[in-house]
């Protein structure tokens, strides 16, 4: 393997200007919710450190996280991600096939043992000896044990590699689990989402390179900078929730005016992700802004734990992690959510005047 450039040499070699580089460092500092005093420290780390070796494994995946990382509209964070790491193996984008692909992976695992970053996309099937996902004749489980087991750090990108995601939705036909369950005891960070957001992946790696440690994590091993705040609390439709202005049917006046999607099934009050602030596609938009309810894609077992996507959250299971990032107990959780629901009803009633309208609201409340 060739000698690696430092990160900034690699960036400047690709035509990234000094100004762009400093802007990138500032953006990373902001995403990580760090003080601007950390910008020079980030810049220094990226200027001096060699690129770490990284391999990107795909198991039971849809390549959606790969797409999320690569399909940006202009060269930017995605390019930067590929420039701050030395990506030696990635099935979807690498040139070599078959033996040559496997050899590239093997080289990293053998020669960089304990020094490389393993990025994993997709779940690992445990049923029937793991036959539901094989690569080069080996099961996903076998590969994960070897590659993640010898890595410096494993980064699980997307909900599937964190805890099973779509593949593990009921009835979980292949016994799909996430990497932490399949390979216990490894050092890892979860960057869930369906798909994950590349800015969070890049920021996590930059944090690790700069400070030699992972950012603060919650109980699901998700970085707090990305999953510490509730979508509902940062939602641009929040004022409409507070005012009792709800979308009641797709395409109704409220929907056209950008009112609150809570009654259309929005899981924002229970979802923790930084979508409303960093958004997607170069900060263009995110599902709630585009008019679709949040499906809590970065929450564990979201396909089953939250009930039907388009049903309003009316019954709140007492599971702690969904209602809080860390230590708030289930009792407080239920109380808070009951308060949200009551608040919503009161606001809705206040917002209307005629008896007919009140009756209609009551009916819809009873139905839901």
């Amino acid at each position: 393997m060739k000698e690696k450039d430092t990160i900034s040499q690699g960036l400047f070699g690709l035509g990234v200007s000094r100004r762009d580089f400093m802007q990138f460092c500032a953006a990373m500092s902001a995403t990580l919710a760090l003080s601007s005093a950390c910008i020079p420290q980030i810049a220094e780390a990226l200027e001096k450190k060699k690129k770490p070796y990284a391999v990107w494994l795909e198991f039971q995946d849809c390549a959606g996280d790969t797409e999320s990382a690569l399909r940006a509209t202009k060269p930017n964070i995605a390019q930067l991600l590929l420039d701050i790491i030395s990506l030696e193996y990635h099935e979807t984008i690498m040139a070599g096939s078959g033996y040559f692909a496997e050899k590239a992976l093997d080289n990293v695992v053998k020669n960089q043992k304990g020094k490389y970053i393993a990025i994993v996309e997709g779940s690992i099937p445990m049923k029937d000896g793991g036959v539901y996902c094989t690569i080069g004749g080996r099961t996903a489980l076998d590969i994960a044990r070897e590659v993640c087991g010898n890595a410096l750090l494993t980064i699980n990108v997307g909900s599937c590699s964190c805890w099973g995601g779509v593949s593990s939705a009921k009835p979980n036909p292949t016994g799909a689990v996430g990497v932490p369950e399949a390979v216990p005891g490894i050092k890892y960070v979860n960057l869930p989402g369906c798909p994950m957001n590349v800015e969070n992946v890049t920021a996590t790696i930059v944090h690790y390179l700069t400070f030699g440690a992972l950012p603060l994590l919650d109980r699901e091993n998700r970085p707090l900078f990305a999953h510490g705040k509730r979508i509902h609390d940062n939602c641009e439709r929040r004022a409409h929730f507070d005012a009792g202005q709800y979308v009641r049917r797709w395409g109704d006046e409220g929907h056209r005016l950008g009112w609150c999607l809570y009654k259309m099934g929005c899981k924002g009050p229970e979802a923790y992700f930084n979508c409303p602030t960093i958004k997607w596609n170069e900060g263009m938009s995110y599902p709630v802004q585009a008019g679709h309810p949040c499906i809590a894609c970065a929450s564990k077992d979201n396909w089953d734990a939250f009930g039907p996507v388009y049903d309003r959250q009316s019954t709140i299971p007492g599971a702690g992690y969904r209602a809080t990032v860390d230590k708030v107990g289930a009792g407080i959780v239920s109380g808070t959510l009951a308060a949200i629901a009551a608040h919503a009803i009161i606001r809705a009633v206040k917002g209307f005047k005629s008896k007919e309208q009140l009756a209609e609201i009551k009916k819809s409340e009873d139905e839901s």
């Binding site: 849809c62 996280d65 797409e67 099935e91 979807t92 040139a95 078959g98 539901y132 292949t174 039907p308």
Partner: protein, 62 residues
Amino acid sequence: MPKIAIDPVTRIEGHLRVEVQVEGGKVIDAWSSGTMWRGIELIVKGRDPREVWLLLSRICGV
């Protein structure tokens, strides 16, 4: 005569294995197999039809 297996076939979405039988420098037979299965058909069975598109669209993220 040699049988050549290419696994993984890269630059695609999903997991693919191709085996070819070669005789006298010519491919005389070939087999391809998708080597990953999640059973999304079984996952959507019995679900609220309105949300099925969300699950099915995750068959392929490309």
